[in-house]
């Protein structure tokens, strides 16, 4: 393994003292200190010790990335500590083991630190009784509307009721009624009757998102989550509250009533809305994408992601996606048109025909007559394959910078998901876009005759439609139609990240792979897949028929990726030196 690759770019943490505790009779060694929700070392709690001992302790309000609240009382456990005699020395049993003084009162696992020799009991009759009691309390005023609740299937009330609840309710009184279908903000709906008042949403928005917008109004059993009247809950992280809501109280306006969660297929992927590369799960059914949810990765996004990124998936399944391989010729019969200036009439072709024609043209192109513009939205593998073409053709290349606002939490100012990939594969330089004027000049002067464009509308980046009209060959791969595809001699329909596999290198150098969630529309093909054919046709290089093989070849070739393999990326990626 090369030294450049590490899973974390952090100094090794100092060794933490371990102490022994017993969980349900089994001795485990646990660190005395454990990172708290902010990552600071704090005394290990009983809940964390139970986790290490692989004993499930149910909980609602506790969340590892939020300050501890201790209000749900679901994680109450019984415990004991070594008994001390009047001389403050441990009292021993006849068999020489320390005598344990069982605490007369239970304690919440989430907030009670462990101590040496402590015994934690998670499955005594007393603990079961307490869990039953808490569940019963949570359910008496709950509307029990699972058949119409979006949370059904991923609801902690349902799950724990099955595991720890009673089958029948004793409750014969009138339920408390609270507001339903409350429009909390532009993306969030609240059903206050389903809410169990765990305050995860309040703590998240205050302590993580930094927007102290939610609170509890009224008192006692009438407590209700609310915003200040007239001030909508509207920051760029609101949808995380839907994820962490253990019940169906907070729902996403985008997702509610769309699909039962148990029908959804979950695919591990990466968000492409900026260079942070938040890990996501894409939920889809029958080739339709229904939602993105963040996938826990402490090296990148923890359990969170921004609303903008989460909702930025609708374009993938737009009606006007490029679905056909198109060839543009002034004299040909138009089957597809666009009214833009410089647009060519296009007719439908096939991958085999188009790719061999392109290969022939490129092979004949004199050195220096080809330019390449590739989006930093393309994957590492695709960028690398194009870099092989570039080398063979002696082409000039670049990418297009895309910037916007950043925030302190997750959003990067760099809106390209793979800027570092474009740099590391040599498609662009550290200053992205400096070659674009040169390419424009080259076309204008007639030096550049062929242009290959991947995923960019170059007319918006200094290479006008008029200039494109001067080219002998314009080869464009994209997902959606634009002025550049309209002017193209060859249009190669590509895939969104959700439709293919590949990897990106995020802003911190983390190489992260993503899986295919849905099939691309029509004849669209993953770019790496047809690029492989094209590169083979042009350069004779082969051996990248699978994404794994391709990645591994690339890793051998690109210094920053040396030592990596597709398998070694695992689900959460590897950080490389950038």
């Amino acid at each position: 393994m090369a030294d450049a690759t590490t899973t974390e770019v952090k100094p090794a943490p100092p060794a933490i003292e371990k102490i022994k505790v017993k969980v349900d009779g089994r001795e485990v060694e646990v660190p005395k200190l454990t990172p708290d929700w902010q990552g600071k070392l704090a005394p290990t709690t009983m809940l964390q010790a139970c986790d290490i001992a692989k004993k499930d302790v149910p909980h609602y309000c506790y969340h590892p990335k939020l300050p501890v609240a201790g209000n749900c009382r679901m994680c109450l456990v019984e415990f004991g500590t070594p008994a001390l005699g009047p001389d403050r020395k441990p009292v021993m049993n006849p068999d020489g083991t320390p005598k344990i003084a069982k605490s007369p009162r239970p304690a919440i696992g989430c907030a009670t630190p462990i101590s040496p020799g402590m015994e934690i009991y998670t499955s005594t009759p007393g603990v079961k009784q307490m869990r039953e009691g808490v569940l019963e309390s949570l359910l008496i005023n709950h509307p029990l509307d699972c058949p119409i609740c979006d949370q059904a299937g991923e609801c902690k009330l349902q799950e724990y009721s099955v595991d720890y609840g009673q089958s029948a309710s004793r409750f014969v009184e009138a339920k408390v009624h609270k507001p339903k279908a409350v429009d909390l903000g532009p993306r969030i709906m609240l059903d206050a009757e389903r809410c169990i008042l765990c305050t995860r949403c309040i703590r998240f928005t205050k302590d993580v998102a930094g927007d102290d917008a939610l609170g509890i109004v009224n008192r006692g059993s009438y407590n209700t989550i609310a915003t200040f009247p007239g001030l909508p809950f509207d920051n760029n992280y609101t949808l995380n509250t839907v994820d962490i809501c253990p019940v169906g109280a907070l729902t996403s306006k985008d997702f509610r009533f769309q699909m039962r969660v148990w029908f959804l297929k979950e695919t591990k992927s990466v968000c492409t809305s900026c260079a942070t590369g938040c890990n996501v799960l894409i939920s889809s059914r029958e080739e339709k994408i229904y939602r993105y949810t963040p996938r826990d990765n402490d090296a990148v996004n923890g359990p969170w992601m921004c609303d903008a990124g989460r909702l930025n998936y609708k374009w993938i399944q737009r009606e006007d996606r490029l679905k056909d391989v198109l060839v543009g010729q002034a004299s040909s019969l138009p089957v597809s048109k666009s009214g833009q200036a410089g647009s060519l009439p296009h007719y439908k072709s096939s991958w085999t025909a188009a790719l061999s024609e392109i290969a022939e043209k490129l092979k004949q192109a004199p050195a220096g007559s080809v330019a390449i513009v590739v989006s930093a939205c393309q994957t590492n593998e695709e960028l690398w394959l194009i870099s092989k073409l570039k080398a063979k053709l002696g082409a000039i290349s670049d990418s297009v910078e895309r910037t916007g606002d950043a925030d302190k939490l997750l959003v990067s100012a760099d809106k390209n998901p793979n800027t570092n990939g474009a740099r590391l594969t040599g498609i662009c330089f550290s200053e992205m876009g400096i070659n674009l004027p040169k390419i424009a000049d080259g076309i204008a002067s007639g030096k550049i005759k062929s242009l290959i464009v991947f995923g960019e509308d170059v007319t918006k980046h200094g290479i006008s439609a008029e200039l494109l009209g001067k080219l002998d060959t314009l080869i464009v791969s994209d997902i959606l139609p634009n002025a550049t595809t309209a002017a193209a001699h060859y249009v190669l329909p590509g895939c969104a990240h959700a439709e293919k596999r590949g990897s990106f290198t995020n802003t911190k150098g983390r190489v992260q792979k993503f899986m295919q969630a849905v099939q691309p529309p029509g004849d669209a093909r993953a770019e790496w897949d047809f690029l492989h054919d094209l590169v083979y046709n042009v350069t004779g290089k082969n051996g990248f028929l699978t994404i794994e093989g391709l990645f591994n070849e690339m890793a051998k070739d690109v210094p920053a990726f040396n030592g990596l393999t597709w398998a070694s990326l695992s689900d959460t990626g590897v950080t490389v030196k950038i």
Partner: protein, 480 residues
């Protein structure tokens, strides 16, 4: 014959005694403060020196003073937990949020002798190196707040407060902070949250023990009004002398709030344990007996959350007689009114508020009244109390409005059993469930009979039970 022993109440009801500082000074006011400030460092046998502050704290320990708010925890011990090495300021808060039903003793001190409280506070603050203290007073005592503010102003003018108090170099400021109608603010960490301007949600312990992580996450002492007044007397008398009052482990005096169905309800100061519950109810010096023609049914001995005592109930009390531990069968009326005897009887002296209930009272209705209080006062932070308190109240409402069932007695106890014993964040869980557990256990026949009568009526009328909705208070369900 037990008598009142007026230590704290010594002057306040005397004719002509006014709450202003001149009157207080005429009665020896602020002498304890002067005495405290004059204490010199003392050489200890081990060669170390005890600071004046340490000496006062030791005196409070020696006095055996136990908190007068409800828990009866040793004041000296509470002070000894204070983290004095953190480098953070230490705060002291006077809990004047008197709201345990049945209790009205602090109201008297605040309204009639505010300087006694202030002097007790200044001395306590001095002993604990406190520079900033607050009096958290019930919102429903606006006059009391004004009186305290006026008294603080007077004390400042005489330099009993402020910078360099009486030339001692000691600085202290005290401010009045008003609550706004929440029983939960009597819970010390709820009070601290309230004083921080947040909803008064009690904090989880661990880690938020006030002595270490209290107000603004600094070490904080929260003491009851009467407790702080006692400190003044401890400084005056000396701890050992104070400890001679009352009975062992139950030292000093207590102001007993006596209410309910007695001839002479009121507040009576006694040496702790020197009068029995029966004497407090029946003696002419105290309650003067039940109303004519009435018999005793029940006594709530220590504020509404303490477990009820049934007339005629007997307890085995551990007593030391001639150096031997013996168990003495004791009628509930013969329980000495102190911390330990009531605890042995399975209840508590709490805030020392006795509510007397006679045989004219529907015991189910009495419990329904208390449960409505607790349902109204639960802060709603943690699950068992938030849901259980209203559930019990709804059941009792049903039971008192003709929609009862025979099984409601057991049903109530099962609900109540889910709440106390460390299952909730604070002791409110106990406070709301103990009355239900004890009333139903001790008067089960009345609860069952009520349910049975309702069932019989419904059978006769051939109707199904209705789900009765209690008169929900508007302010809790909608904007008020």
């Amino acid at each position: 014959m037990p008598q009142e022993f007026k230590l704290i109440l010594k002057h306040l009801d005397n004719p002509g005694y006014t709450p202003d500082i001149e009157c207080y000074l005429r009665h020896g006011g602020y002498d304890a403060l002067k005495k405290a400030l004059a204490i010199q460092p003392k050489d200890l046998p081990d060669g170390k020196k005890a600071s004046p502050q340490e000496q006062i704290r030791d005196d409070v320990k020696l006095s055996g003073l136990r908190g007068r708010g409800g828990a009866g925890f040793s004041c000296g011990l509470k002070w000894s937990f204070v983290d004095r090495r953190s480098g953070k300021p230490i705060y002291l808060i006077c809990n004047a949020d008197e709201s345990e039903p049945g209790t009205f003793k602090d109201r008297q001190i605040i309204h009639k002798d505010p300087h006694q409280l202030i002097e007790g506070m200044i001395v306590s603050c001095f002993a604990n190196d406190v520079k900033l203290a607050y009096i958290y007073i019930r919102g429903e005592m606006p006059k009391g707040a004004k009186l305290l503010n006026a008294a603080l102003k007077e004390a400042r003018a005489k330099n009993f407060l402020g910078k360099n108090i009486l030339g001692s170099g000691y600085d202290l400021e005290i401010h009045v902070h008003r609550g706004a109608g929440a029983y939960i603010c009597g819970e010390e960490t709820g009070l601290i949250e309230s004083l921080e301007g947040k909803r008064p949600y009690p904090r989880i312990k661990p880690p938020y023990f006030p002595a270490v992580l209290g107000l603004y996450m600094c070490p904080t002492i929260v003491n009851n009004v009467e407790t702080l007044c006692n400190v003044k007397h401890i400084v005056t008398m000396g701890g050992p002398e104070f400890a001679k009052l009352g009975t062992p482990n139950n030292t000093g005096t207590r102001i007993v709030s006596l209410s309910g169905q007695v001839k002479r309800p009121g507040y009576y100061e006694i040496e702790v344990g020197k009068a029995t519950i029966g004497q407090l109810i029946n003696d002419p010096a105290f309650g003067g007996g039940l109303l004519d023609g009435r018999k005793l049914k029940a006594v709530i001995p220590g504020g509404s959350s303490s477990k009820v005592l049934k007339a005629g109930e007997k307890f085995k009390l551990k007593r030391k007689i001639e150096g031997k531990d013996v168990e003495v069968e004791t009628d509930m009326l013969d329980l000495p009114y102190d911390f330990d005897s009531l605890q042995q009887a399975g209840t508590m002296s709490g805030s020392s508020a006795i509510i007397v209930i006679d045989d004219s009272v529907d015991i189910v209705g009495a419990l329904a009244n208390l449960s409505e209080f607790y349902a109204h006062e639960s802060c709603g932070q943690c699950t068992p109390c938030r849901e259980g308190s209203l559930w019990m109240s709804k059941t009792l409402h049903r039971l008192t409005h003709g929609e009862g069932r025979k099984q409601d007695a057991d049903y109530l106890v099962k609900i109540a059993d889910n709440i106390p014993g460390g299952k909730t964040i604070c002791a409110f869980g106990e406070a709301c469930s103990w009355p239900v557990q004890s009333f139903v256990a001790k008067f089960k026949d009345e609860f069952v009979a009520k349910g049975a009568a309702d069932e019989e009526r419904r059978a006769k009328e051939k109707v199904q039970p209705k789900i009765a909705t209690p008169a929900e208070r508007k302010e809790l369900t909608t904007a008020h």
